[in-house]
């Protein structure tokens, strides 16, 4: 049996934005680590997108050598406190754990988080920097891909500047993932500050493509390579009638107002209207984040999803937490129209029942509409959490950067090399919306490719 992790009580947490999962104590971490069988084949490592040497860092936790454990993790992953909290471990490392076959997998994510937090709380210097190379690299975007690329390059000795369009660094870690899942001051800011100690410079309020173009970065500002990690920030809408009514938010807008702009705190100026009944459309992690945020703002919240719970792309833990917190799941249901009152405000939705028939090419069940099943439900707010596509500003303004029909930047898979000389890209901007850790892996690979490019380029 896995050592259970303490969580904030439901009745407490639905009234505040404090972190729900409290993490392991030293004793609990050591006890959980002792469950690891230290397998030779280590399937967990194979299933980790950045290949962290998991048995080895767990071995050090067992021996209570936490700094050594940190050294191992930081070789592969510069943001363990974040990844330990938001990675879908059940389908990655923990999904590969032998113990999971008969019982419960080792809580690798929670152990990673424990070490990450240990480093932050004890101010441990974890990075070993190579000598300065005196070459400048620009990183566009300070989300997971950009941060991971920047830290890797800084360790390799490059002078790295991150350009961030918003006023705060962190990308989706700051505007998207809520405080109760990933604390901003305590964790995100601190892990980013660790990178600043590496000498990485972060310039906020710079929209590359607008404030400065890619070409200007090379020609006028002296950068020798650029990494684009601009994410998939453009929200999708369903294209149904009434979708532009007041009170229909994209999950991005809703979460940005709440997280980045702290709209839930009275002393902050950004407004956020929510009403009594909120519908969140979608079944992914973002939908759960929006739903749980709305719960904390005092609403009755419904998740509207066209397949069943089994097909939901959200992590099990998120679905579980959402249910605990009172989110109502209306599955096999799809909105067909949003109804507005005479002032243009949402007053409800026409919903249609669905059933599952057959499977699509990705193996997912196909939802089919049930004829004549339309019904009306009243809602004050509708939040669309049906996905995002890459932000188009750079591709709009830089003809040399090629994108595909999904608006994703076209790159060489292994290196992240784009169609423009010296420019690399990775993360959601390349793959479309995916996970934090995949973006970090791509950022890191691109960093090595940039190092290779610059080492061979002009020496």
């Amino acid at each position: 049996m896995r050592v259970p992790v303490k969580e904030l009580k439901v009745e407490e947490r639905i009234k505040c934005f404090d972190e729900v999962c409290l993490g392991y104590s030293e004793e609990e971490a050591v006890l959980e680590a002792s469950r690891c069988l230290n397998c030779k084949s280590a399937n967990c490592v194979k299933k980790c997108p950045v290949g962290v040497d998991i048995p080895k860092f767990i071995e050090y936790i067992k021996k209570r050598e936490f700094e050594k454990a940190a050294e191992i993790i930081f070789k592969y992953n510069s943001l363990p406190s974040i990844c330990g909290r938001v990675c879908p471990q059940e389908i990655q490392c923990e999904g590969g754990c032998v113990l999971g076959k008969k019982g419960e997998a080792v809580a690798i994510g929670k152990l990673e988080r424990f070490i990450g937090d240990y480093v932050l709380n004890n101010d441990i210097d974890v990075f070993k920097k190579e000598p300065k190379k005196n070459k400048k690299v620009a990183v566009v975007g300070s989300g997971p891909a950009g941060l991971s690329c920047a830290s890797t390059l800084a360790i390799l000795g490059y002078d790295v500047t991150i350009f961030e369009a918003l006023h705060e660094a962190g990308g989706v870690l700051v505007y998207g993932i809520p405080e109760f899942r990933l604390p901003k001051e305590k964790i995100v800011k601190k892990e980013i500050e660790n990178l600043l100690k590496l000498g990485v410079e972060i310039k906020t309020n710079v929209i590359v493509g607008r404030t400065v173009t890619l070409n200007q970065l090379f020609d006028e500002l002296g950068y020798e390579a650029v990494f684009i990690g601009t994410g998939a920030g453009l929200p999708k809408f369903m294209g149904i009638k009434g979708e532009n009514a007041n009170g229909v938010y994209s999950a991005n807008e809703f979460l940005t107002r709440a997280n980045l702009m702290r709209a839930f705190l009275d002393e902050y100026d950004t407004p956020l209207k929510i009403g009594k009944r909120v519908a969140v459309i979608g079944g992914g992690n973002v939908a759960m984040d929006a739903a749980r945020t709305a719960v904390r703002l005092g609403a009755e919240v419904h998740i509207i999803y066209r397949r069943t719970e089994d097909e939901m792309p959200a992590r099990l833990e998120e679905i579980h937490h959402a249910k605990e917190e009172g989110v109502i799941f209306d599955v096999l249901t799809n909105p067909v129209e949003i109804l507005a009152d005479e002032n243009g405000w949402v007053k409800g939705m026409v919903l249609r029942k669905m059933e599952l028939k057959g499977v699509d090419e990705s193996g997912r069940r196909i939802p089919v509409e049930v004829e004549g099943s339309d019904y009306v439900e009243e809602f004050d707010t509708v939040i669309m959490a049906i996905g995002t596509v890459p932000n188009p500003i750079i591709s709009y303004t830089t003809s040399e950067i090629k994108i595909n029909n999904k608006r994703c930047i076209v790159v060489e898979e292994d290196t992240g090399k784009t169609t423009m000389e010296g420019v690399y890209a990775g993360g959601d901007a390349v793959t479309g919306a995916a996970t934090v850790i995949l973006a970090m892996g791509a950022g890191k690979r691109a960093a090595y490719a940039i190092d290779h490019y610059l080492s061979n380029n002009n020496n």
Binding site: A165, L166, H167, Y175, T204, N205, V206, I207, R210, T211, V212, T213, G233, L234, P235, F237, G239, E243, N244, A245, N246, G247, Y249, S250, N252, E253, T256, R257, M261, R262, E267, Y268, D269, T270, P271, K273, N343, G344, N391, P392, I393, Y396
Partner: protein, 284 residues
């Protein structure tokens, strides 16, 4: 941090700030906007760019006090700092992509309503520097609210004024002047109308009748201004567009103005509440 180099009241509740922001000044083009956040707790406010000086590295913005945040901003003084100033955002005006040859024989009519004269100014300035013919109409409630009249006249174009109370120019609406100018035999290749949504709606209705291409600039509610939130969505020609990345300028004959008006009122109750809540506005 971005320093306020200069502050001027253009009217009782309209302030112009000249802000030191060299990177924005260097890239700014007519038609674009910036996002401003005054302090740590402030909201992100989109404001159109009124002028820029690349050599001095300054950008001028014009702020009309409409709510708590703009009120807070109007209280800032020369020498104070603004926490965040991001831009330029949005697309430049369409004519920026035309070359001198293409622009040479074109005639533009600009129609500004109230504070809309601010975004009109850099557009007229740009075109006049290339010697392009421009007429300008400025409409306001009364004489005191007519802004930038002399500055625009200095660019070498005819400026026509309409006020609701007749205290300056003709008594009437900007549309009366558009009609009059056309009836007098003036021809225009394009009308650019910027101001209150209702004004843009009526100008567009008129120019559609007159068969003159019309561009309007929308000042939608936004959070990030970079395409992320979708708060600024607007229906243009039956399609949903984002003002921040697809605009802010759109074909005036295709915009669903009634929707724009409804969406602009989205947070009106909160604004009123906060205005009372924070403090009575005493910036003027």
């Amino acid at each position: 941090m971005y320093k306020i180099i200069e502050k001027n009241f253009l009217a009782e509740n309209i302030v112009m700030f000249k802000i030191k922001a060299p990177m924005v000044a260097k890239s700014a083009k007519p038609g674009q906007f910036v996002i401003v956040r005054i302090d740590e707790k402030g909201e992100r406010i989109p404001l159109t760019i009124c002028d820029y000086d690349r050599s001095l590295g300054t950008v001028s913005i014009v702020v009309q006090v409409v709510g708590a945040s703009t009120c807070k901003m109007a209280k800032l003084n020369q020498g104070d700092y603004i926490l965040d100033f991001a831009g330029p955002l949005g697309n430049a005006s369409e004519f920026v992509n035309l070359n001198e040859e293409e622009l040479k024989n074109k005639k533009y009519l600009f129609v500004a309503g109230g504070v809309g004269a601010a975004p009109i100014y850099p557009q007229v300035k740009y075109l006049r520097q290339l010697g392009v013919y421009c007429d300008v109409i400025i409409g306001a409630r009364s004489k005191e609210l007519v802004i930038l009249k002399e500055d625009i006249e200095k660019l070498g174009c005819r400026v026509y004024i309409s006020t609701d109370d007749g205290s300056l120019g003709i008594r009437g609406r900007v549309t009366d002047l558009v009609k009059k100018l056309v009836e007098e035999g003036n021809t225009y290749d394009e009308v650019v109308a910027i101001g209150p949504v209702v004004m843009m709606k009526f100008v567009s209705m008129l120019t559609k009748e007159l068969n003159i291409k019309t561009t309007v600039s929308l000042n939608s509610i936004m959070v990030d201004g970079t395409g992320m939130c979708g708060a600024c969505r607007v229906t243009v020609g039956g399609q949903t567009k984002f003002t921040c990345t697809d605009g802010p300028e759109f074909d005036g004959h295709l915009v669903d103005y009634d929707e724009v008006i409804k969406r602009q009122n989205m947070f009106r109750d909160e604004e009123v509440r906060r205005m009372h809540h924070t403090s009575e506005c005493s910036c003027f």
